[in-house]
């Protein structure tokens, strides 16, 4: 029974978005079905939470009928939309010819990586489907909010503790982070609505979908970037086997994995847009980056990093760096002059308490280069960065925009832990890895792009080599 209910929830989540992505992604796009599948899962989950917010505003209770009804409206709008609302198909390209021996090795590697991925989905799915809620922050606020939303059949306003006391708790709720976005609790609420009752383990099914979506987006966008299937699947397996990423799926309830997906989905689309200037990739990039703002405050800062990439992609590397550098100086001036109490994306300068905190360096070093959070991806990234700088002249035209995004994001990350009061999150190793998780799939994708660019990713049959 639960399986059917979850399947229905999945269909209602995916169909409204799928029908529009079918129009958006041109025919002839490499790995089109997988690409649409990955983005459908992500954007479908986001759309469901938007529908639930809308229903709360108009005073309609959550139910499969009400949520499914609005979703069906979006779906039929996509079905009935004019035929001209469809991206022009791309010209078909002949598949590269591989010699038999190389093809055999590629098939073997592909099969091994696919089997490892399937095994990972299975074991994580088992954990999600079986274990009741475990993770601290999920118990503390995310899932606790979901309980209230599920009980109320709508979202409910959350305020700070003292405000709640002043209002006598009438019509408002409180927790330690009332300003946090409600997308994550709404995902659990939706799953429970679909199941018909509160289910302490199956309600985290969306985390498995996020994991699968990460894999589909990573692989498909790598293929669109003209990376061969074997390299793409190997890199996808490496990205999805990151231990800390697996933990966030197996012990679900946190928002960071969804932020990671939104950032990767936007980043990969941005890279392919910067290469081919296809409008549909730009649209995917903007949509996914904006979705990050709905998931967690950090989404705002990752959204801003796309500005640096866009500058370099639009103006060229030299002019882009000049303009970007000027804007950065301007931003620093604004930060210097603006009042301490202004709140931007949930933080004010006063609250951040800016100042150099070198004690966080040890935690950063241990987390990335000693502990097994990311296997040895950090080392591979550093090597890729070195390769990028070594071959800057050849690689910069293609990779400078995405390098700017990655480096801006990492710079913001380091600023958070080295220059603000949040350094305690590094020293005590509490939030350090959770925020890093939001960036690591993008770091993995960038590392893949550098490897593919440096290796030129050519696999030619001997006849074609003459």
């Amino acid at each position: 029974m639960f399986t059917l209910q979850l399947l229905l929830a999945l269909i209602l989540t995916c169909l409204p978005v799928w029908v529009w992505l079918e129009r958006l992604v041109p025919m002839g796009t490499t790995c089109r079905r997988l690409l649409i599948g990955g983005y459908t899962l992500f954007l479908g989950m986001m759309l469901v939470t938007l529908i639930m917010r809308f229903l709360s505003v108009i005073g309609v209770s959550f139910s499969v009928g009400s949520i499914g009804g609005v979703g069906a409206f979006v779906f039929f709008a996509g079905v009935l939309a004019p035929r001209s609302w469809r991206m022009t198909a791309l010209p078909s390209k002949p598949a590269p010819v591989l010699n038999r021996q190389i093809a055999g090795i590629h098939r073997l590697v592909f099969g091994i990586c696919l089997a490892m991925l399937a095994g990972r989905v299975l074991v994580l799915g088992l954990e999600i489907g079986t274990r009741p809620l475990f993770a601290w922050d999920a118990l503390q606020h995310w899932t606790k909010q979901a309980k209230v939303f599920f009980d109320q059949g709508s979202t409910a306003p959350y305020v700070a503790l003292n405000e709640w006391l002043a209002m006598g708790g009438k019509g408002v709720y409180t927790n330690m982070h009332p300003d946090y976005a409600i997308t994550t609790p709404l995902l659990q609420t939706w799953t429970n609505v679909a199941l018909g009752s509160w289910h302490d383990s199956l309600m985290s099914f969306p985390w498995l979908l996020i994991f699968v979506s990460l894999g589909l987006v990573f692989y498909a966008q790598a293929r669109v970037a003209k990376i061969d299937s074997t390299t793409a699947i190997a890199a996808t397996y490496m990205a999805l086997s990151l231990p800390y990423l697996n933990v966030q799926v197996a012990l679900p309830g946190y928002a960071d994995l969804l932020v990671a997906l939104s950032f990767l989905a936007a980043f990969a689309a941005f890279y392919n847009w910067s290469c081919d200037r296809q409008a549909w990739q730009a649209l995917l990039c903007i949509l996914c980056a904006l979705c990050g703002l709905l998931v967690k405050n950090e989404g705002f800062y990752w959204f801003l990093t796309f500005g640096s990439g866009w500058l370099l992609a639009s103006l060229g590397v030299k002019r882009g760096l000049l303009v970007g550098g000027t804007l950065l100086l301007g931003l620093l001036l604004v930060l210097w002059l603006m009042p301490d109490t202004w709140v931007i994306a949930g933080h004010s300068l006063q609250e951040l308490s800016l100042g150099y905190r070198p004690e966080a360096w040890t935690a950063v070093y241990v987390s990335f280069l000693k502990h097994d959070n990311w296997h040895f991806l950090s080392y591979l990234f550093l090597a890729a960065l070195a390769m990028f700088i070594w071959h800057a002249r050849q690689l910069a035209p293609m990779l400078a925009p995405v390098a700017a995004i990655v480096l801006s994001a990492l710079a913001l990350y380091l600023c958070l832990y080295l220059f603000t009061r949040y350094s305690f999150g590094a020293v005590r190793m509490t939030s350090l890895n959770r925020v890093a998780l939001q960036l690591m799939p993008v770091v993995a994708f960038f590392t893949l792009l550098v490897y593919a660019s440096v290796s030129r990713n050519r696999v030619l049959a001997p006849a074609q080599q003459r």
């Binding site: 074991v123 606790k144 709720y173 927790n175 197996a250 280069l369 502990h371 190793m429 890895n433």
Partner: protein
């Protein structure tokens, strides 16, 4: 010496002592039927020392002993080295089981320098005897090192709260040796060898990036295999604990079982679904979990702050769930709350259990 978080000496020297070498400091030898068993003194103490010839304790830190007989009540090791003249170090460790036991003394304070005195002490019950056949001191062999790595990287470790913050890759979250630097080093070495072999080849073609990528993938799979092993072991335990159970049954066998029961009872005693519930607990974990299981009631819980807000914030009809440990007490005679020096808020006890108490503000 190869330093990878543990000491592995390229010079695998060792010292072995047989019964003929033992010097009995306390206790006696029981020679019956050719067997040289050892008997403690009347206080149950059996002490032996071994002839040492200035062995380097930095090198030889693995103590192995083989004995038959009962497991001792207590087991101590003592030694003196040339590092601190005249200072005799003692350390008590977990009593070894009969058979062969191995103990790594490298981490103990004072185990350094050249040995001057070395001995062991068994504390036995009156009348007990044991037969000690072999004592040796050695450095770690390659198989010891590999076993140590295997233990740290593939040992059983199951979900713990700390995992949501970091994954170290070791069985003890706070100790190495950590696998990541090892596999990163192995990858660098493998790639360096690739570059070297290309350099010595006569026909220098383009560097084969596919082979390099294949090498990186193979080492990644090797590194990931430990994590996979752990995930599958964990999944097995998860299934054994929770598989096939309903939501309620799962909660009752989970780590939060205590909270599930008493919060459900507390909720059953609250008639007004709009009531405010104040969670009063001095413990972060207890307060947090209680607040979660009291949801969807409208709860107030202040992490890291006072257990309760100022007295005039609480009004008649509010509930207080007191969860141990807590400084909030009830004066049973006067039916008033006692907390942070404030006395006077009249409350009634709605539900009381070993885990917590539900109070209603009158």
């Amino acid at each position: 010496m190869l330093q990878l978080g543990i000491t592995f000496s390229a010079d695998a020297s060792s010292t072995q002592w047989l019964p003929d070498h033992f010097k009995l400091e306390t206790g006696t030898v029981v020679s019956a039927g050719g067997s040289n068993a050892l008997k403690p003194n009347n206080a149950g103490v059996l002490t032996l020392t071994f002839p040492v010839a200035g062995q380097s304790l930095d090198n030889q830190h693995l103590l192995r002993l083989s004995f038959e007989g009962p497991s001792p009540q207590r087991f101590l090791i003592f030694w003196q080295s040339d590092t601190i003249a005249g200072k005799l170090f003692h350390v008590e460790v977990a009593a070894p089981a009969p058979g062969t036991s191995t103990l790594d003394l490298a981490e103990f304070t004072g185990w350094e320098g050249n040995a001057e005195i070395l001995g062991i002490e068994f504390r036995l019950l009156p009348g007990q005897q044991l037969k000690l056949s072999n004592v040796s001191l050695s450095s770690l062999s390659l198989s010891d090192v590999l076993k140590n790595y295997w233990y740290h990287w593939a040992g059983n470790r199951y979900w713990h709260n700390i995992e949501i913050n970091r994954v170290t890759g070791t069985v003890d979250a706070d100790a190495g040796p950590y696998p990541v630097p090892f596999f990163a080093g192995l990858t660098a070495l493998a790639l360096a060898l690739l570059v070297f072999f290309r350099a010595v080849r006569r026909d220098k073609g383009a560097f084969n990036w596919q082979v390099a990528g294949g090498v990186i993938l193979c080492i990644w799979i090797l590194s990931d295999s430990f994590w996979q092993l752990r995930l599958w072991r964990q999944a097995g335990v998860t299934w054994d604990t929770f598989g096939g159970k309903t939501t309620q049954e799962k909660l009752l066998v989970s780590a939060h079982a205590n909270f599930v029961g008493f919060t459900q009872q507390a909720k059953d005693h609250i008639q007004n679904s709009d009531a405010r519930i104040f969670i009063a607990s001095a413990g972060d974990y207890t307060g947090m979990v209680s607040a979660y299981f009291m949801a969807p009631f409208n709860t107030y819980w202040h992490r890291g702050g006072p257990e309760l807000p100022a007295g005039d914030s609480l009004v008649s009809g509010d509930y207080i769930l007191v969860v141990a440990p807590s400084a909030v007490k009830v004066d049973l005679d006067s039916g008033t709350l006692r907390y942070a020096g404030e006395v006077g808020l009249k409350v009634s006890i709605e539900y009381d259990s070993a885990s917590g108490t539900l109070l209603k503000v009158m």
